[in-house]
Amino acid sequence: MTHGSSLTRRKLLAAIGGVGLLAAGPRVVGAMGHDPAFTQYTYAQSTGPNLRVAWYERYNGALAEESNRFTAGSALTNDSDSFNASGDDGRFVDVTGPDAVAAGPVLSIPNAQPGDEGLLLIGLRAEGADARAWLSIEASEFAENSLTEPERTEGDTTTDGGELQHYVDVECWYDTGRFGVGGCNGRRDFSEEAVVAAATLAEVSDALAGGVPLTFGLVGDPCIDAGTQRCLALRWRIDPSVANVIQSDSARLDIAFAATACDEPTTPFGGGE
């Protein structure tokens, strides 16, 4: 970024993204938020930030869940065009509040095994006003459940708490694409920054439960422009070398996003920034 330029990096990224998407067709130009073809919702600026979300979940490579089913749209795919088109078409939804769709848990893994992996790709769209997005990830309700014979054989004697949260590896990054081009594809490019260092579920929860602002890799201008969306990827994995100690263990995971005014320095989740 050139010093003294009136362009912020965010706008530059958006522009780059727009250039990258031009080839995809004229409709995509609007998808970037600069020339929305139409919107389903109308918001007054005075109502403050408004955040809508879209997502898809993959489990062991297969599509398990996606949000366009709530708006009868084509299923989201792993590219930014899909998310941008859905944003333009007003298919981003609320999952909290009176207008929430009945999304239910977006991540429900009842039978995880070593070698499993999953991806939750979430698009965040600021409606009506620029918004600063915040993220909180909190794991809880760790449970041993039954203590199976293989667990006992491995020396697991705990009857509560379980160990699963220590063996699920989590990686959370801004899926903005390479220098703003592409993105929302669930593949981490070397240029895409992490929200927090890859770690176990328990460690990520410790780091993010209090909430952190999402910068999307931008310095000094972390807002999502009104009428645009950005993607955040959360990938989890249980290493194949993980042994029987996790058998039948369980954990709960809450993923929360909040939108504030762009200059808001305080986490709305109650923790320190």
Binding site: G48, N50, P110, P150, V168, I246, D249
Partner: protein, 398 residues
């Protein structure tokens, strides 16, 4: 100033008040602006790890110990054990490996059959069966015993039932030494270890062997000993059960003398020990060679025509001989120190051998009830009727 005056607002106070209200409003506005937020929460997500649990006859265990006892000769007197191996109802599908540990070597004299879900997959000696199930020490894939080797599905419907029949072939009736050893070692412990691994993400079963599987190998088998008849000396050897002196001319058994020696010092230990590992024998005629039986092994000691020889349970030349070889171990004539008796510390008898008839010498075993041996020994073991074709039999004795 009246009390009422205390409530009179002058302009300064009013300004101050208004100012204060304004300040509060400004602060409130600042605060309100700070908490103008929208929140979207993906709540109540859960992750639960699955399980892979074995079910050995429905019990979540990885080892099962079976025990077989053979009371009489013949297939119809077999002992049968059945174990159903599978995965628990809550388990995930998985590859199941099973491994048997060897039992007392004397059990090789017993015959055995393995059926997998009523399909016969093995027929031979018990030792051979256990060796088959042992693989190279890392077991065999359960579903490959009588199937396509697919992963086992959870629950009782996916269990694979192994039925082992063990019986004493009637040919043993002519080998009282072995029978005595079998009786002493009975019942025979059959230990089966099982191991299961999830099949998801494991498209090819990983043999639980060092170097082939990164995290699991079967535990080592417990070393096995022998029955009291042919006791292992603790150093891997077995005591002498009989000694055949092979001579060029007939020998009067009453003229044969013997001495048990301490295997370490060579001192006379006759009567002082309940096992014989070294024996010195003296015959009234030149001894050409001596055949010693210790455990399941036969050893030949070439003497060269002297009348005295010292033999042991470990020396000489190991012979590849059938189990009933000692019934007539000499080519022609000689004498046999038969049936070492541990409690008395003696051989029960010294008998004359006459093995000129080739049919008498290590001939094919008979299936009929045992009778008097060529050496005049009367088998005292219980008898059984002729063996039937095991494939035609379906009855079991538990």
């Amino acid at each position: 100033m009246s009390d009422r005056d205390e409530y009179r607002l002058n302009r300064r106070h009013l300004l101050a008040t208004i100012s204060t209200v304004g300040a509060v409003g400004a602060l409130t506005g600042r605060g309100t602006a700070a908490y103008l937020t929208d929140r979207e929460t993906f709540a109540d997500n859960h992750m639960t790890a699955g399980s892979v649990t074995l079910a050995l006859d429905g019990v979540d265990a990885r080892r099962v110990d079976l025990s077989v006892t053979v009371d009489d000769y013949g297939f119809e007197n077999r002992d049968t054990e059945t174990i159903c191996l599978g995965l628990g109802d809550e388990s995930n599908p998985g590859w199941v490996w099973v491994r048997a540990c060897p039992t007392d070597p004397v059990a090789d004299a017993l015959d055995a059959r393995l059926r997998v879900d009523d399909t016969t997959v093995y027929m031979g000696s018990l030792g051979g069966l256990l060796a088959t199930l042992a693989g190279d020490g890392d077991g065999v894939l359960l579903t490959a015993l009588a199937g396509d080797g697919a992963p086992v599905t959870p629950g009782s419907d996916g269990a694979v039932c192994l039925t082992v029949d063990v019986w004493a072939p009637t040919a043993l009736a002519d080998d009282p030494d072995t029978v005595r050893a079998l009786k002493a070692a009975s019942p025979f412990a059959l230990t089966l270890d099982a191991y299961a691994e999830q099949s998801r993400h494991v498209p090819t079963p990983r043999r639980p062997a060092m170097g082939e599987h990164p995290s699991f190998t079967f535990p080592p088998c417990t070393p096995t000993g022998a029955g009291s008849g042919d006791h292992d000396d603790g150093n891997g050897g077995y005591a002498i059960s009989n000694v055949s002196l092979c001579t060029s001319s007939p020998v009067d058994p009453d003229a044969v003398t013997w001495t048990v020696r301490d295997p370490e010092t060579g001192a006379d230990a006759t009567g002082g020990v309940d096992e014989a590992f070294v024996v010195t024998v003296t015959a009234p005629a030149p001894i050409q060679y001596v055949v010693v039986k210790a455990g399941r092994e036969f050893r030949r000691f070439d003497v060269g025509g002297t009348t005295t020889a010292t033999v042991s349970s470990t020396g000489g030349t190991l012979l590849d001989a059938p189990a009933n070889f000692s019934r007539c171990a000499c080519e022609r004539v000689g004498a046999k120190l038969d049936d070492w008796n541990g409690p008395t510390g003696t051989f029960d008898a010294v008998v004359a051998l006459s093995c000129g008839d080739e049919e008498d010498r290590a001939g094919p075993p008979t299936n009929g009830p045992p009778g008097r041996s060529a050496g005049g020994q009367t088998a005292t073991e219980p008898t059984g009727s002729d063996a039937h074709d095991p494939n035609d039999a379906s009855g079991e004795k538990k």
